[in-house]
Symmetry: C2
Subunit: 438 residues, 2 copies
């Protein structure tokens, strides 16, 4: 995992942090990992800022869950009112889930017109897989070789980025990560289509058939790949021709981050199933699958699905507040505008620092590759780790990502302003100057 705290090589921590860490290690399971060479202990958060237990303020340029900002009063008010009134499940009739379902479905192009609620992106991916496999009668799934789609058994099987010990299923065909920094723009769509076509042939040969291709609409774990817009379109046709579905994983790009409501929109496509998660409730657990009736009917009528907490009125209240604020504050357009400014700033830095080998982004989902400008644009994960940790020490939180873990990933809450962008760029330049001194 990129940017994980390593107790063996970690810095000497202050005594209070070390005590909390020791207590944590004694009671939490061995799966837990922390971010940063020196983990950040957090006391509170508001808007774009985390307040550390060390008393310092950290600019959050990484968390896409608190989409409308940390501790947003609209979420606090909505959740507080609902939890004092009613919190139950969808086997009773309640108003809030229906009201919200109508609003969220209206954000999608026809025929994406039905929504099923769960609690996490992983659960929604898992449900989309079950729906696609049962509906098509096929088992095969196509994902990129550095994909991340979740942590349930079925979602982890399509998440090779979890590492070599995480078993990828025999029914899964991996296609090469898209790499727009190294591919000529006019070849991105062709290469992707060729990869998908080969995967389809492979799955058919192995007797699995094609249930679905699952693609994160901005390829978050593949290093953020967004240009040229439209490169996903041929994939939809190819997977349909093979009898499979197109599943758009919008857990990371969804809800306005890319400067449009959904990341798939910039490619001009209409998926069969769309998976929503992280930002949906600003941190209150809620996720969903939005899909066509055709894609969902067979599974829904013959197998069914019930998630006790899925669509509960309290999670729905949080999600409703998120929609309200995104709409009222114009955060989709805001993400496009400020994201554009930040991308320009990164491009300008790239002009001054040759160790930045590519920058790219859509709205407030941005990436900068670090490495050498040789023929292969050799990535430098050590430099990326140094930059991420130096920025943390300067009070700015981002992380590293991508197949080589050499891509800086910048993904702040949506109310990130031009001033925040300026601060980030200023600190990034400071750190680059220091860390790239030859």
């Amino acid at each position: 995992m990129a940017n994980a705290y390593d107790p063996a090589t970690g810095a000497g921590l202050d005594p209070a942090t070390q005590r909390l860490l020791d207590r944590r290690d004694r009671v939490l399971g061995p799966s837990y990992r922390l971010f940063y060479r020196e983990p950040v202990a957090v006391q509170s958060a508001e808007g774009l800022w985390l307040r550390g237990m060390d008393g310092r303020a950290y600019l959050d340029a990484y968390n896409n869950v608190p989409a409308i900002g940390h501790s947003h009063p609209a979420v606090t008010a909505a959740v507080g009112a609902q939890i004092a009134t009613l919190n139950t499940h969808t086997r009773y009739l309640t108003d809030p889930v229906v009201d919200y379902a109508e609003r969220i479905v209206a954000k999608f192009p026809a025929p994406l017109e039905r929504v099923t609620f769960a609690c996490t992106g992983s659960e929604a991916v898992d449900l989309a897989i079950r729906t696609a496999q049962y509906g098509t009668g096929n088992r095969g799934l196509i994902v990129t070789e550095h994909a991340y789609h979740g942590t349930t058994h079925a979602a982890a099987q399509v998440s090779p980025s979890l590492g070599p010990n995480n078993p990828v299923g025999d029914h899964v065909a991996l296609i090469p990560s898209i790499d727009t920094a190294r591919a000529p723009a006019h070849e991105v769509a062709t290469r992707l289509l060729d990869s998908v076509s080969a995967a389809i042939a492979d799955l058919n040969e192995r007797g699995h058939g094609v249930a679905a291709v699952i693609l994160d609409s901005v390829f978050s774990s593949d290093g953020v790949q967004v240009e040229p817009a439209g490169f996903l379109a041929p994939v939809v046709q190819a997977v349909h021709d093979a009898g499979g579905l197109y599943i758009a994983d919008e857990v990371q790009p969804g809800f306005g981050r890319t400067g449009e409501w959904w990341g798939f929109q910039r490619h001009g496509i209409v998926p069969d199933l769309v998976v929503l998660g992280k930002p949906m409730g600003n941190g209150v657990p809620i996720s969903a699958v939005v899909g066509t009736v055709a894609a969902q009917e067979r599974f829904g009528s013959e197998v069914r699905y019930f998630n006790t907490f899925g669509g509960n009125p309290v999670s729905i209240a949080a999600a409703t507040a998120v929609l309200d604020v995104i709409e009222q504050d114009g955060l989709v357009e805001h993400a496009a505008r400020v994201g554009g400014e930040l991308l320009s700033g990164l491009q300008s830095l790239m002009g001054d620092y040759e160790r930045i080998t590519d920058v790219r982004g859509a709205g407030l989902f941005l990436a900068a590759d670090l490495g050498s400008r040789d023929a292969g644009l050799s990535p430098d994960p050590e430099l990326a780790a140094r930059v991420v940790n130096a920025l943390r020490d300067e009070g700015v939180l981002i992380s590293a990502s991508g197949p080589a873990a050499a891509t800086l990933k910048i993904r702040p809450p949506l109310p990130f302003t031009s001033n925040h962008a300026d601060l980030l760029l200023e600190k990034l330049e400071l750190v680059l100057r220091r860390e790239t001194r030859a």
Copy 2:
């Protein structure tokens, strides 16, 4: 599914309910099902009572999620304070998750000493399966033939109660449902052990080996099977001898419902992994796997697990309030006492109504079989459906369960009092008198 609303045979609904239902059907996925011949539309809830949109009060004798009562002010206060302060994930250090982890782990016997958080019981079951399979190197899983363990792909594969279209994996061996009404008490443990031993042999023969046996500690979906206490003990030894783990599914029995903190305690066993869910946050999504270091170490260190919403401070705040209230109000002892009274009342009704063929329970998890007192105790699912729906019309909510869907399942929030029990018994007698007139 027992007790599902069927639009084809459903009663004519009042216009407001029908309008809400129509709106719901237009936007929710085809998987959704409602309870009762006439669905209950809910406006608000407090303590043991749901308030319907029809203005009526319904005694909730069925929902085990609002464990400490609907809309409990302690949960409202805790969630409200935390959500206004901080809600983030476990890759930063925060106090609440460590404080809670220490408290929850202390509720378990050694060596159950580490906890991993997720959001739903299904996710926790899924994680326990991944942990067991990776840790043991085996794939095989043993569950009862009417088990329900969840809705992710992997959890649904061990949930045959979801029906014939829900595929059970080849790596899953089913053992007969325990049926304490039809088995002599002294044979329950022997029969179960024989079944498990046969399943172990079967899985070994099919080359899967044994990763785990997964048993709901009160067999909720198998009709609630609780006596004689201790019958689970031989299973633990058998599965260990086969190289597998014992996973206790405490999503339904956990948190005091059975009159002890955990359902497995009445059997005097110590599982390797324990799955927690539903009542844990009184409706705010949170779940967990509690386990030994030995059972979790290999998966945790070599594969890892991260759940974005798992262990978030807001869900943890709700869970902390639940622990506080259970402890302060003595709800474990309360469940034992009132559950005992209710069981006596059901036994007394069984003396008067021969269509009740068995009653049983542990704490506030109770069951009554309906059928004929012939040699096979033939179950009567139609009578059970009539009783459940007639009780609903009388303002008391329970449901039907079990392999034959002929078992009344009674599972109220824990603050259910003797007065509530009297009301339930009075209404049940009224309904039985009417529905069993020959």
